[in-house]
């Protein structure tokens, strides 16, 4: 395998919305010794399909291996490596910052103006900053906020989508008889 430098790869996987699918994907990464930066999963506009965005730091060869191994999972409908094409990616962070004096509050406001960020909660002691942006911008904001004092931080992980008419979708419709009880089970209690 010609060894290219590791870089960030964003793999988008369309998966069946069934119990245990997230577990299958996570198990694959552990089993094959692939390192995941972040993995996000959520429903799509089709109730039987969920979509994952998996960010990995890998060589091109390893990213290809991950791609092929994901496709091997029966419940994975399709996979695209969107880092090989023009795409949009977003990471969301909520950052709780110290805001108990004028200096920190002013600093906070000034910093947030330079980012796609806003203060979504503020009290006498702390404020919560929300940012939705590309991952590197989120990183930059976090670095700028550090001197003020970060108390708590949560990030969603990256979600991504190819630009333009590159559509990652499936025409598949589930064939199993969906009874009233099974519907409730598949889509509420056991959603991935």
């Amino acid at each position: 395998m010609p060894d290219h430098k590791p870089k960030k790869h964003l793999l988008v996987a369309l998966v069946e919305n069934k119990p245990g699918v997230l577990n299958r994907v996570a198990s694959l990464f552990r089993r094959r010794n692939f390192n995941v930066d972040s993995l996000t999963v959520g429903r799509t506009h089709k109730p039987h399909l969920s979509r994952m965005t998996i960010a990995v730091d890998a060589t091109r060869g390893d990213a290809f291996k991950i791609h092929m191994n994901l496709l091997k999972l029966i419940n994975v409908v399709d996979v695209a490596n969107v880092s090989n094409e023009p795409h949009v990616s977003r990471d969301l962070a909520l950052i709780k910052v110290r805001a108990n004096d004028a200096e920190s509050r002013n600093g906070l406001t000034l910093i947030c103006e330079r980012y796609p960020a806003r203060i979504v909660d503020i009290g006498p002691e702390v404020a919560i900053v929300e940012i939705t942006a590309q991952e590197d911008q989120v990183e930059a904001l976090i670095n700028e906020l550090k001197p003020i004092g970060i108390l708590e931080l949560v990030r969603t992980g990256v979600v991504a989508m190819g630009r333009g008419v590159r559509i990652l979708d499936s025409d598949y419709e589930p064939v199993r008889p969906i009874t009233a009880t099974s519907e409730a089970k598949s889509f509420e209690v056991y959603s991935v």
Binding site: G20, K65, I74, Y172, V175
Partner: protein, 567 residues
């Protein structure tokens, strides 16, 4: 027609053409066992340990090409299947395992005999199911069989809670096509890929075909032979590839890898083109990847896309069904002779004959290689052999040439000791007209010898050959080579195998001299049911040649020629 979940299971198995299943009952699977009384056409073989059930299903599948079925209860019953499932996974063997589970309401409560079996088997199955809705059950069983046998075959497990087995619904068999949106086994190659492969084949001066299990799984045996003959390309076989090409064919060099023929390994290292067909460049086959076939271009055809470029970087990787790809490839293959190259390989072979223990007078000693060689001779080379794991397995691979597909069954990928006896029994159930020999070591045999009782109860005619050297021989060999002969935990006490067999009502015989081997084969053939023969061989045997793990493929430890000193 209203059927219970248990009846649906059996009804669906029947429609999949299942004639036999191997299993062990228990609380959580009892409703299904009870329903079996209504389905006498599906024979149930009661094993003595669930591992045996999984291996029997595996042996059955490998011998017949059909899906093998194992059935067990929840908790310990299911976890006992694990080794057998992992074995089937590594060797791409199609089996379906059905396990009982505690009732849906009790799942997650640490109920009696509850284990998260779909969790446990997730990484060692091709796919698995926990049935939570009885309406899905018939679909799941159909999918399970389809997934198990199609594409790259593998094990599928279905975990069925007890209350689903007893619940009743109006049963309609789903006749419509299976729709698995995320599963489309690949078929053919693109024209571009075929063209690129042909170019490499036609340019090559020193090509070699590496034939694996996939040749037989896809039914490309004839195509392989045609390719080899037309372009005069020598064929090396993987362990599981034995049978892909007749071993008496002049173009077959023999097994490759750690204990492969020296000529195969040298040819691979010298080749300018590897044509890898249905094999996966396992580390036991490649040795040191950095020095593996350095001057060779590589074509790799496999049905599993994740195998291409996994271990060895290839120039042309083709994902597809091997037979379909070969049918695309063959019309374009031009004749060639490669006379010089074939002669060189032949020269390497002759050196091996000089070193071979078979060609030496060993006096009163009995060696494992001689036993296997003579078993081959006296069975006419036509038996189906099922091996365990260790020295006897490698000796079988070296000294029992096979001429037809699926005539050697062995645990290659996982190297599961204890596989031999139960897998041989499964093979016999699948192919009752064949002469089946379980060739096992004293170590592995003792891991699953409880299945002697199953063989007796079911009167499964397997000929069990125990190659007894009173050691865990392969481990001892490693200790001799790499651990300064510290034979720790390898000398092995065994019971009197002849008496043991007799305790099970199984006729048995002990062989201590080479001239008794012919008689032992005749004896085995004269017994109607299972029979056991113990071959008491020399203790400190070594399987040559050997490529130490991770060493360059051509850095083999060879058996010294007469007059040479060891190592």
């Amino acid at each position: 027609m209203k059927l219970s979940g248990a009846e649906i299971v059996l009804e669906c198995l029947k429609r999949e053409g299942v004639e036999v299943m191997f299993g062990y009952p228990g609380g959580a699977i009892l409703p299904t066992y009870d329903a079996m009384t209504k389905y006498p056409e599906i024979h149930h073989v009661l094993v003595r340990h669930e591992q045996g059930a999984a291996h029997m299903a595996d042996g059955y599948a490998r011998a017949s090409g059909k899906v093998g079925v194992a059935i067990a209860t929840s908790g310990p019953g299911a976890t006992n299947l694990v080794t057998g499932i992992a074995t089937a996974m590594m060797d791409s063997s199609p089996i379906v395992c059905i396990t009982g589970q505690v009732t849906r309401g009790a799942i997650g409560s640490d109920a009696f005999q509850e284990t998260d079996v779909t969790g446990v088997t997730l990484p060692i199955t091709k796919h698995n199911y926990l049935v939570m809705d009885i309406h899905e059950l018939p679909y799941i069983i159909r999918e399970a069989f389809y997934i198990a046998r199609s594409g790259r075959p593998g094990p599928v497990l279905i975990d069925i809670p007890k209350d689903i087995q007893t619940e009743k619904i109006e049963f309609v068999y789903p006749e419509d096509a299976i729709r698995l949106p995320g599963y489309q086994p690949p078929q053919t190659a693109s024209d571009k890929e075929i063209k690129a492969a042909l170019e490499l084949i036609h340019e090559a001066k020193r090509p070699i075909i590496l034939a694996g299990h996939g040749v037989m799984l896809s039914g490309a045996v004839q195509q392989l032979q045609e390719l080899a003959e037309r372009a005069q390309i020598p064929v090396a076989l993987t362990l599981l590839g034995k049978g892909a090409m007749p071993e008496n064919h002049p173009l077959t060099i023999g097994m490759m890898g750690m204990h492969g023929e020296a000529a195969s390994n040298l040819a691979i290292q010298e080749a300018d083109l590897l044509i890898a067909l249905g094999m996966r460049f396992d580390d036991r086959v490649t040795g040191n990847l950095k020095t593996y076939a350095r001057s060779a271009k590589k074509i790799h055809v496999d049905i599993d896309a994740s195998e291409i470029n996994k271990n060895v970087h290839v120039d042309v990787g083709i994902v597809g069904d091997l037979r379909a790809v070969m049918d695309q490839l063959l019309p374009g293959v031009k004749g060639a002779s490669h006379a010089e190259w074939l002669n060189r390989i032949r020269d390497w072979h002759e050196d091996a004959d000089e070193r071979d223990i078979i060609n030496r007078d060993t006096g009163d000693e009995l060696w494992g290689a001689q036993v296997i060689n003579d078993l081959w001779k006296f069975t006419g080379g036509n038996a189906i052999t099922v091996t365990d794991v260790g020295q006897h397995q490698m000796l079988e691979a070296q000294y029992y040439p096979h001429q037809r597909p699926a005539s050697m069954i062995t645990s290659g990928g996982l190297g599961t000791m204890g596989f031999g006896l139960p897998a041989a029994m499964g093979a016999k159930v699948a192919r009752p007209d064949e002469e089946i020999w379980a060739i096992v070591g004293d170590g592995g045999f003792q891991m699953t010898l409880c299945e002697l009782a199953t063989a007796k109860q079911e009167n499964i005619k397997v000929n069990i050959a125990i190659i007894n050297n009173n050691y865990l021989g392969m481990v001892r060999q490693w200790q001799e080579f790499f651990y300064e002969q510290r034979y720790h935990a390898t000398p092995m006490f065994s019971p009197d195998f002849v008496k043991l067999a007799e305790a099970y009502g199984i006729p048995a015989m002990r062989v201590e001299r080479r001239d008794q081997i012919e008689e032992s084969v005749a004896f085995a053939r004269s017994v109607e049911g299972p029979v056991l023969i113990e071959y008491a061989v020399e203790a400190e045997d070594i399987v040559y040649p050997m490529v130490p793990a991770g060493a360059d493929l051509d850095k083999m430890i060879r058996r010294p020629k007469p007059g040479e000193s060891a190592r």
